[in-house]
Amino acid sequence: MPSADSAVASPMGSRRRIHTLAFDDPSRALAAVRALRADGFEVDDVHTPYAVHGMDEALGLPETRLGLATLAGGLLGAGVAFGFQFWTHAVDWPLVIGGKSPLALPAQIPVSFELTILFAAFATVGTFLARRRLFPRIAVTPPSQPGPGVTDDRFVVLVVERDAGFRPARLRELARELGPVETVEGWRVM
């Protein structure tokens, strides 16, 4: 691989050089991410077969706010359920059943509770799938996945050359010390 061109980001703009370091051990991948970041490299992502704990902190990812979607869904569900029961029983067609007031709040709690859970669950999963762009696909291989091994036993660290200051020689030197089972350099349209 010639090293002269790799110091500069691709002139095509959208096409960038990527370096992947594949490990067979989660702790090595974790150590690699920490070492690369400590050395000033920007690690784009790490693809793993399971949720390696501590990897999000090592990558410096902020805490997810997915819980807000759950809360919003739950509030919406509770509102819809209480509102609808109130409307049908007390506004649209008031019925006196067993001498109770048309707005018998305790009797509305079970249905409201269930709909709160239902809406919150859909909001959580829907938001998660939409934000991570997960949807049914015809294409068999996701373009963002660095090889099929990451759903089996490979922990792949992905480094992208983003600017002219990138030091490929230093990266290769570091990679040798970190002991990946495989390193690949390639191009990716970002």
Binding site: T48, P49, T70, W93, P110, I117, L118, A121, V125, R137
Partner: protein, 455 residues
């Protein structure tokens, strides 16, 4: 047990490599099914067909082909409904509640238990549907704009609460199960070819295993577990409201919600044990579903069995202490009346049988576990039968007392629901990983780290 073994409990035996985990769990789906699977599948489908035919016969002829009478209006149908809903509860307990409590042993068995939940709720849903007599009009139970007013459904009826509880429970369980499956479907996508690969790819939603996705994924799972936990408690609570909010002696008790939930977990764990003992043997998953898993489930069985036994005792005590003669009569009648045989079958199976699990040797013996779990299933079916039928058959007017005997049609439909359950489960073990790859790999890596730290 050596000193080290107390700290490092091996949940996955023999320290396999990650790719070994993938291969071993995926292999039952990739090889052609053997005679054992085909035998079981054809039996299940035959029994299911019998059930479908008998349901068709009931619909064509009328509910008169069942043994119900004017006094006993709820018999096998509602008994089976409560039984199957209860079976489902163990799956949610294992997948959601044990996730919140960070019980690592759940990872190997959660997927199968969640599958069991969905199939059991499916079986449960059949019974109210056919019990209402005209299943093609079942949509009437949901509120929708109609030409009858439009008047809406009665939101104050516990039976309507049940419609919402069961449909929410089914939907959320399915959602939770599918979210759990996504990374594993991606694993299957990456190792299969041809049309199987296309189907797995379609269902895996383009999963790429990136850390951002995993971070949100784990959060989503914890949030869903947090939602499923109160949901599962609410579902059997609401099922118990079907009875508890009525004024029938034997039904009208405040103890019902906790009593039903404990009973549901009890029967569900019995079914998980029964299913997994067979599954792990047939699929060769002894490394992942170990004696230690069964030992823990046996402890749950013992605990919930005693809660249920305590509830039986409380019921009797309150019936005696309340001074209500109708209440007292109902319980005397339950224990010593015409249905005494059903009552004592229940007590023997649910209270006495689990006591065997005080002994560690019983908790580790596959044979004892299997027999005891089957007996608990029988006992828990009889619990619902007792609650429903013995409370109804002798009401306030002795002139209307009667005895309910199920017909062969009802028995056939119950059998048919087992056929549906096992058909679904057998298809599931063929097409989806019965043990979660990603969760087992996480457990495995933690197990290695702990082992390393202790050494």
């Amino acid at each position: 047990m050596s000193a080290g073994a107390e700290h490092v409990e091996e949940l996955i035996l023999g320290n396999p490599t990650f790719s070994q985990v993938t291969n071993e769990i995926a292999s039952p789906m990739e090889r052609r099914p053997g005679p054992a699977w085909w035998g079981a599948f054809l039996t299940a489908v035959s029994v299911l067909t019998l059930g479908v035919v008998l349901i068709g016969y009931t619909m064509a002829t009328g509910i008169g082909v069942w043994g119900l009478n004017r006094t006993v209006g709820w018999g096998y149908d509602i008994t089976n409904f409560v039984f199957w809903v209860g079976i489902g509860h163990a799956g949610t307990l294992i997948s959601a509640i044990l996730l919140l409590f960070r019980q690592r042993w759940r990872t190997s068995i959660a997927r199968a238990a969640e599958g069991m939940t969905i199939f059991a709720v499916l079986c449960a849903a059949i019974f109210p549907l056919i019990h209402m007599g005209r299943p093609w009009l079942a949509f009437w139970v949901f509120p929708y704009p109609n030409t009858r007013g439009p008047i809406s459904v009665n939101f104050r009826s516990p039976l309507l609460w049940d419609v919402f509880a069961i449909s929410t429970y089914f939907t959320v369980s399915l959602l939770f199960w599918y979210v759990g499956l996504i990374p594993d479907l991606a694993t299957m996508r990456d190792r299969s070819t041809g049309w199987r690969r296309r189907i797995y790819a379609f269902l895996a939603l383009g999963w790429d295993g990136g850390t951002r996705t995993w971070q949100r994924y784990e959060k989503a799972c914890v949030l869903l577990a947090g939602l499923a936990t109160p949901l599962v408690v609410s579902v059997h609570t609401i099922v118990s409201f079907d009875f508890a909010t009525s004024v029938i002696p034997g039904w009208h008790t405040t103890i019902f919600p906790p009593y039903f939930v404990a009973g549901a977990v009890f029967s569900g764990f019995a079914m998980v044990i029964t299913l997994l003992l067979v599954t792990r043997k047939v699929l060769g998953l002894e490394r992942y579903i170990t004696a230690s898993h069964f030992e823990k489930m046996a402890r749950v069985l013992l605990t919930t069995g005693m809660i249920v036994g305590f509830a039986y005792a409380t019921e009797l005590c309150i019936a005696l202490y309340s001074g209500n003669r109708y209440e007292r009569f109902t319980f005397e009648n339950r224990a010593f009346g015409p249905y005494a045989w059903a009552y004592w079958t229940m007590v023997a199976c649910n209270v006495l049988v689990p006591q065997v699990f005080w002994w560690a040797r019983a908790r580790r013996s596959a044979l004892v576990l299997f027999v005891a779990a089957c007996l608990v299933n029988v006992g828990m079916w009889f619990e619902r039968f007792n609650i429903i039928v013995t409370s109804l058959h002798r009401d306030y007017l002795p002139s209307s007392w009667s005895y309910y005997t199920p017909t062969l049609v009802e028995m056939g439909i119950l059998l048919g629901s087992f056929g549906l359950f096992f058909t679904c489960f057998l298809l599931f073990v063929r097409f989806a990983p019965v043990v979660a790859f990603h969760e087992v790999k996480l457990t495995l890596s933690e197990q290695r780290e702990t082992a390393h730290a202790v050494r």
